[in-house]
Structure formats: C-alpha cells, structure tokens
C-alpha cells in the first residue's frame, strides 16, 4: 500500500491541482498482475479465520481462489452474495482489524493477504462490465416493505428483500442515497462517485423504489426539516406497508459542552466531511490555517487528514486519553501521522477563545489516577481558526418515540424486530457490532431474512 504525499505547504493554500491530487484514490487499485500475485499468496485456508472475522462472512478463500483461476466475475458474485456493498467495504473497511488481522499469514511473519484490495479488484471488475445484475429475484410475494433510510443498512435490507420477492420502498431524508457511503466516508476512499455507482448497481435487482427528501417524523410532532422535505410518520408507513425497516443511522452528534461552542469556525467533523464529499471541486472547501480536531475515532482521523490535504498549515488532533484508548485503528492513526497531523494525547478541551470567531482553544493536561481520568492542573493553549468536533455521533431520538431504547439505541430482538410489531431496525441505530458499513450491510441482510420469515408466518 502506498500513500500519496500530502502536498501542503506552510501557510500557503494549495493550488487546485495539488488538492485534486490529494483527493484522488488513497490506494491505487491493484493491477491485474498485482492482483494475481497477491491472490497467489492466499493459502486457501480451511474454515478460514478471515471469514469469521468478516461481519458479512464473505467466503474470502473462495473469492481469492476464483481470482487466481481467472474467474473474476464468479469471484465478485461470491463476494456480493454475502455483501452487496462489497465495493464500498473493499474501500472503507478497517481490514486491518477485521479479515486481514485474522489472516494466518500474519503468524508466519509475513504481511497478510491484501484481502480488501483483492475484493475491490473483483467487484470493480463486475461493476465495470455493466452486465446484467448478478442476482435474480424470487417470484413476487406481493408483500410491501418500507425502509427508512437509504444508507448501507437500508439498502442492504432492500436488496435482499427484493431478491426474496418482496417490493420495497425506501424513504430517504436526503437528496441522494448511500448514507455515510455518500456523505460520511473520507473523499479519498470513495473517489469517482463510487457510492452512487454502487447504489445504481444494487438497484439493478429491481423491485426497489427510493423516495427522496422524506424524513421520518414522530407521530405527534410538528413537521420538521427544510422546505424541500416531506415527512412521513411511522404510523402512515405501518398502515401502508406490511413491514417497516428502520435504518436511520446516527443523525446527531455529541457536543463539547463548552462556552462559545457556537463561535464561527467550530464545526461538526461529520458536516465538514459531508461538505467535502458533496463538493465537486474539493478546492472550493475552506479550511483553516490552524485546525484542531477533537476526538479519537476514525471520523476524527478522516477529518484531520482531509483538513491537512486541503492545505491547512497545522492540524492537531487532540484526545484526552492515550493512544491505546483511541478507537481509530493503528493503521488510521499512522495515516494521520504520515499526512502530517500532530497528535496531542492526554489533553482535554477546557475553553474556546475568540471574539465571534474561534482564535484558540485551551486544554488541560490529563492523567490517570486510581484508574480515573483526572486533570493535572497544567493547561496550555493552541491557536485555532477551525475546530472540528468528532467526539461521537448519537441517535436522533426525536422521531423515534414509541420505540423501546437502550444505551441510546433502538432495542431489537435476535430477529431485528423492534418493540413495535412489524417494525424492524438495523445499522448504526441499533446496537449490533461496531458502527461500520460492513456491520450495517450484515444487519440489513439478516433483517431481510427475518422479515421474510415474519411475512411467511403472518
């Protein structure tokens, strides 16, 4: 894997060409020769650990074997039969903590097989061929399913449900489908409008309609949202459809809860990333000279690296605990470092300084005493004209009254059914595995099977 250098030059905003280069593909796809060579490294393990490490249980040894035999289309079908968003997962999965971490080659002091890169080879090959959709629908059941949210969970559920013969209508609040694949992943991981291409491919199965600008509203509440939006209530959906699937993701973010958090220059990292993703010219996005990113997850890393690649003079990622506590993977942390992001650990934000616009932030050095994180009393300031907050997202519960919730998420049973009969849920809005695209795809796929069983029994 090679990283493209970040071309930021001190204090000088980068020319458009440099920014375009910085936002090209993070990893070049494998050439045919590289893919063959890499596939040859796979040992074709029996009952392979990598399969178990994949939330969607892709039969990895088989798809790699198929690349080796030159059956690339068959390889893609193997992948997509388990994970219809195998293309995005190949680009965005933290493979270093999933399949590739489980690769037995790690144990023989070698690098693991580049499973993600090989998966991309196979899926991209199939999608680029623009042939017929690789899966066929079962005979129409006449059942209708409403899916709320056209993110990975909702789309995965819709695809599998359509395959099982049901008709699906997806209600999406935004103007485009894809959810975080379209709005949330780092731009250099999803170049060439891949999220939209993947959705178009997925819809090729037929039987799925998407309605845009359709936000879920609570039963009693007044309509919310901007002027373009319509709203739809859960009751309306339950009246119209046999089953409802909720895949709304996490629509809200945590606040720093500091005075002055509304000053200019202080943004949610997810909004910053969304603006970047939606900008046809990345160079049109304004970035600060001195950027502070608060947080320690992969969103914080994505925001910090992209700020640097836009040409920020300094980008400092600040986290109140140590590196071992960061939820970002080691690979992502290294990506930040190699892109010139400073990482300040054991530092908690205490104040925002500035007159109308942020000028600096104050931090207190932190330490652990008796297992508790406490302030050390020492503090320091960092100059900042942009602060990106990435301290976690949470479920916007305002439109979900009536659902039983736990830990800030919708409670579901083993079959993904919520406390409301005939309403299922999955993805980041429930507690399943990690909040990852691949987990959302698995949730949606499994829920579709559960819904199918539910409808058959009804």
């Amino acid at each position: 894997m090679s990283l493209k250098p970040c071309n930021a030059v001190n204090g000088v905003s980068l020319p458009k060409e440099a920014i375009d280069s910085n936002f090209s593909d993070l990893h070049d796809p494998l050439s045919a020769l590289q893919a063959k060579g890499e596939a040859d490294r796979c040992l074709y393990c029996y009952d392979a650990p990598c399969i178990q490490a994949c939330p969607t249980s892709i039969d990895i040894p088989t798809f790699i074997h198929q690349i080796r035999t030159g059956n690339i289309e068959g390889s893609a079908k193997t992948i997509l039969s388990a994970n219809i968003m195998g293309g995005t997962c190949a680009r965005a999965c933290p493979t270093e903590v999933l399949c590739e971490q489980a690769c037995v080659l790690n144990a023989s002091e070698e690098q693991p097989v580049e499973i993600g890169a090989l998966q991309r080879t196979a899926v991209d090959h199939l999608m680029a061929a623009h042939g017929p959709h690789p899966f066929k629908r079962a005979a129409e059941t006449g059942k209708r399913i409403a899916v709320v949210g056209a993110g990975p969970a909702g789309l995965s559920c819709a695809h599998r449900a359509a395959m099982l013969g049901h008709n699906v209508t997806i209600y999406e609040a935004k103007a485009k489908p894809g959810g975080l694949n379209e709005y949330g992943l780092a731009a250099y991981k999803m170049v060439d409008d891949f999220a939209q291409k993947e959705v178009a491919f997925l819809l090729g199965i037929g039987g799925i309609e998407i309605k845009y600008h359709q936000r879920l509203r609570c039963a009693q509440g007044a309509p919310q949202g901007d002027a373009q939006e319509d709203t739809v209530s859960l009751d309306e959906l339950r009246d119209t459809f046999d089953v409802v699937y909720i895949g709304v993701g996490l629509g809200s973010t945590n606040a720093l809860q500091l005075e002055g958090e509304d000053k200019d220059g202080i943004l949610d990292a997810v909004d910053f990333i969304e603006d970047l993703r939606q900008a046809s010219e990345k160079s049109s996005i304004v970035v600060g000279d001195d950027v502070i990113v608060i947080g320690a997850g992969n969103t914080a890393i994505d925001a910090a690296v992209q700020a640097k690649r836009l040409g920020a003079n300094t980008v400092t990622l600040v986290y109140r605990r140590g590196e071992e506590n960061m939820s970002a993977t080691d690979w992502e942390v290294n990506l930040a470092r190699t892109n010139g992001v400073n990482i300040r650990l054991w530092s908690a934000p205490t104040a925002i300084k500035g007159n109308g616009r942020v000028e600096a932030m104050s931090f207190e050095s932190m330490t652990v005493s008796d297992g508790k994180l406490i302030g050390s009393g020492k503090s320091f300031d960092l100059p900042a004209d942009m602060v990106l907050k990435a301290i976690g997202q949470k479920l916007d519960a305002s439109m979900l009254d009536g659902f039983e919730m736990s830990g800030g998420k919708i409670t579901v049973g083993d079959n993904f059914e919520t406390s409301i009969a005939g309403v299922f849920a999955g993805g980041d809005c429930i507690k399943s595995g990690d909040d990852l695209t691949v987990q959302a795809v698995e949730d949606g796929k499994q829920a579709a099977h559960a819904i199918d069983a539910y409808l058959a029994a009804k």
Partner: protein, 424 residues
C-alpha cells in the same frame, strides 16, 4: 572446493553442465555466449541431411503455475533449419576458439545405413568430441520416419547405433525417447549397438494446453496445433525414474548416462548424479532464464559436494542407486507418523482438510474458546502417508517421525498377510 570435472564416454569436461541439443545450441553466437557464461559443453542442435528442414512460426507452448512460473514447455520446432555446412563451419570455428569446451554433434536421419554413416562421418570431421544420435524427437521428424519413430523400436536403436559406431572414432551417445513402455528395452538396444553412453530423456509427447478461444492446442499455428515435445521441470520425475531404471538394471548398470530432463538447479543436478548420471544436459531452464543460471548450478553443486565431503562428481555418482529398489523390497514394518509443531503452525487448516477429505481422518481440528485453532494428529489413524507434510505451507511445521517399533525388516514377499507367501 570440490572438483566439478567429469568424464563421460571418455570425454573430460570442466564441469558436468552441458546444453542439450535444442534451440539454445542452434548456432555460433548462442554457443559462444554459453561458453562465456561457463557451460562445460554443448550438444549442437540436431543436424540432418541437406536440404535443411523448414520450421513453422509459433513453436512453443508453456505450462505455467498460477504464480507465472513455467514448469514445462512443449515445442514443435524441428531440427536445424540451416545448411549442414554452415553448422559444421561454425563448429570448427568454435572448437578452435574454445579448446577446453565440449561440442557433441547431434544428428538424425531416415533409417538408411548409408545416410547415417555419411552424415556421421561429415559431422565427426568437424572436430566434435562425440556424436549424439537423436532417436527421440516426438514431433514432426517422426512423421518422416526419424526421431522417435526410430527410438521406439529397439531393433532400430541398436542398428543405428552400430552403423555410426562403425564409421566414427569419437564416442557415440544414443539419445533415448521416453515415449515408450519400458526404457530398458531401448537402453539395452543402444548398449548392444555399442553406444558409449545414452542420453535421456528426450521430450515427452504432449499437448501443453488448449486455446479455448481458437479451440486448438497450443502452440497454435494458423488455427491448428500439433502435439509437441514436453520438457522442463515438470518432466524431471519421469527422467529421474528412467535414469534410475537404467542405473539399477543388471544389464545396463555400467552404461554411462548423460541425464536430461528438467534440470534447473544444482539440486536437480545432484539428484541425477546420485541416480547414476555421469554427465548432465540442460535446455529448458536456460531457455527460461538465460545462460547465467549455470553460475549457481556450478556454485551450488560444488558447495553441496563440499558439505557432504564428495571430492569429485564420480564419488557422488550413483550413491542413491542401491537405495532405489522395487516396491517389493521395501520394509513393511516401517512406521512413520505426522507430528504438527503447534509453535510454528499458522492454523491454515490445509493439513486437516486434506486428511479429512482425502486420506485417513487423522488430523483433529479444534477451536478453543479464545478462537485459536489447533490441529492434532491422531496417531492411531495416521498411516504416515505424508500428504499433510506436503500440503503444509510452513517449512518444517509438520515432521514425519519414524516410530521405533523394534520390528524386523520384512518385505511383502516375506509378509504373513501375503497370500502368495501363505500358499508356500
């Protein structure tokens, strides 16, 4: 450093590495480049009567591993397609320029005494150290009554060898085809004809692959293909066996052998020498990698001989022959069991599935609570077949451990379960 000088059919060579009669020894420039690279000798590309043959375009097919390595080539090229005198003039020139290197003249002709004798005399007059009779080429020439068409008939092998021996003073090598049922018949025929040595194996008749778009065997010549001669690493096991058969056969054990067939490394060379080869010929490996590979063949063979204490090629020659026996001479009481070293096991499961599906269900697979996988040999079920040992991707992870059972050496003819024995 061990002495790599060797003597075969009375010819002394600075090392045992000769290039076999084939495209790499087709003309002056190739042979000079080979000698510059360090090869001890060459067997010149087979010469025939004028007018020379005409070759087709598209001549080689390749058998590759998934890893792009060529394990075998088949070829449909015929003998030298240049006039005889052009070849002989170049041989004379190189003999002058490279006095310490060996040149053997390879020849073939139709089954007519005068033709063989006239051609042999002409070639011998060019100053070659010996003459090799190409009785093996399995494609093209055999359709004209030459090559393997002669080599497959022991009486003709003997006759041709005798014809040539009658008219030349230099040593004669009879080159044998593997495309027969029993190599000993042709080896004994060559011996009876007076051959000073046999060279084997020539290429194996083959179709290397089928072009599924053109629906024709490779190499495809304008939409059609023909069977060709297979060579390279893949034929080494066939060649080793045929060399061993001659070496351990009472009638032919003194027949000298110039071994050919998939020699690519010093280790391959050592194996052929161990089975009784006095000299070696290489072709495919040079075609794949160039003449430079002889460097490591020389250094590696010499290093191995030093390590094992062999001072000369002749000292190591045939050392494995006494241990190459008929199945009926194997010890039925020998028992070996696989042992999997848990420390070096990387948990790929290849041994388990191979044994479970296709052998003796002798490797237990368990998953611990922490997810770690373990593979353990069940001694009672293990028959010591070596399959797990071979499929394991980690060197030395699986060891085949002989069981010390203090039982005597018992062969099948002596075995109590042998019905033939019981009938005695």
């Amino acid at each position: 450093m061990a002495d790599l000088k060797c003597t075969i059919a009375g010819i002394e060579s600075i090392n045992p590495f000769w290039l076999a009669s084939a495209p790499p020894t087709d003309k002056y420039i190739n042979v000079v480049r080979a000698f510059e690279a360090g090869w001890g000798g060459v067997v010149w590309k087979t010469l025939g009567e004028d007018p020379p043959v005409v070759n087709v375009s598209s001549r080689y097919g390749a058998h590759k591993t998934g890893n792009r390595d060529i394990i075998g080539i088949n070829n449909i090229e015929l003998i030298s397609d240049r006039p005889l005198e052009t070849n002989l003039a170049e041989i004379r020139q190189i003999r002058k320029e490279w006095p310490d290197r060996i040149i053997i003249g390879s020849m073939m002709a139709v089954i007519e005494e005068k033709v063989w004798k006239d051609l042999a005399v002409k070639i011998a007059a060019s100053g070659v150290h010996g003459i090799e009779l190409n009785l093996g080429c399995p494609h093209g020439m055999c359709e004209r009554g030459m090559g393997s068409a002669i080599g497959q008939v022991p009486e003709m092998v003997e006759k041709v060898t005798r014809w040539v021996k009658e008219v030349v003073d230099v040593p004669v090598f009879t080159k044998l085809t593997p495309n027969i049922t029993n190599i000993l018949w042709s080896a004994e025929a060559a011996q009876a004809g007076g051959a000073d040595a046999v060279s084997l194996i020539n290429t194996v008749n083959s179709i290397v692959s089928v072009d599924l778009d053109q629906m024709a065997p490779n190499p495809v010549v304008d939409g059609k293909g023909s069977h060709g001669g297979y060579c390279g690493l893949a034929v080494k096991p066939i060649a080793l066996n045929m060399v061993a058969e001659i070496s351990r056969n009472d009638e032919t054990r003194d027949l000298e052998i110039s071994a050919i067939g998939g020699i690519e490394t010093w280790r391959d060379a050592a194996e052929f020498i161990a089975l009784g080869a006095e000299g070696l010929q290489v072709c495919t490996a040079a075609m794949i990698y160039g003449f430079r590979i002889v460097d490591d063949m020389i250094a590696g063979l010499s290093g191995w001989m030093d390590e094992k204490g062999y001072k000369s090629i002749s000292e190591s020659c045939g050392m494995a022959v006494p241990n190459t026996v008929d199945w009926n001479a194997l010890n039925m009481n020998f028992d070996t069991k696989a042992f999997i070293d848990p420390e070096s096991c990387i948990e790929c499961g290849r041994c388990h599935i191979a044994c479970e599906d296709t052998a003796h269900q002798a490797i237990e697979f368990a998953v611990a609570e922490d997810g770690s996988r373990s593979f353990t040999v069940v001694d009672e079920e293990c028959v010591g077949c070596n399959l797990c040992f071979h499929v394991c991707p980690v060197p030395d992870c699986i060891e085949m451990r002989p069981v010390e059972n203090d039982k005597p050496y018992v062969t099948w003819p002596e075995h109590p379960l042998n019905a033939m024995k019981a009938a005695e």
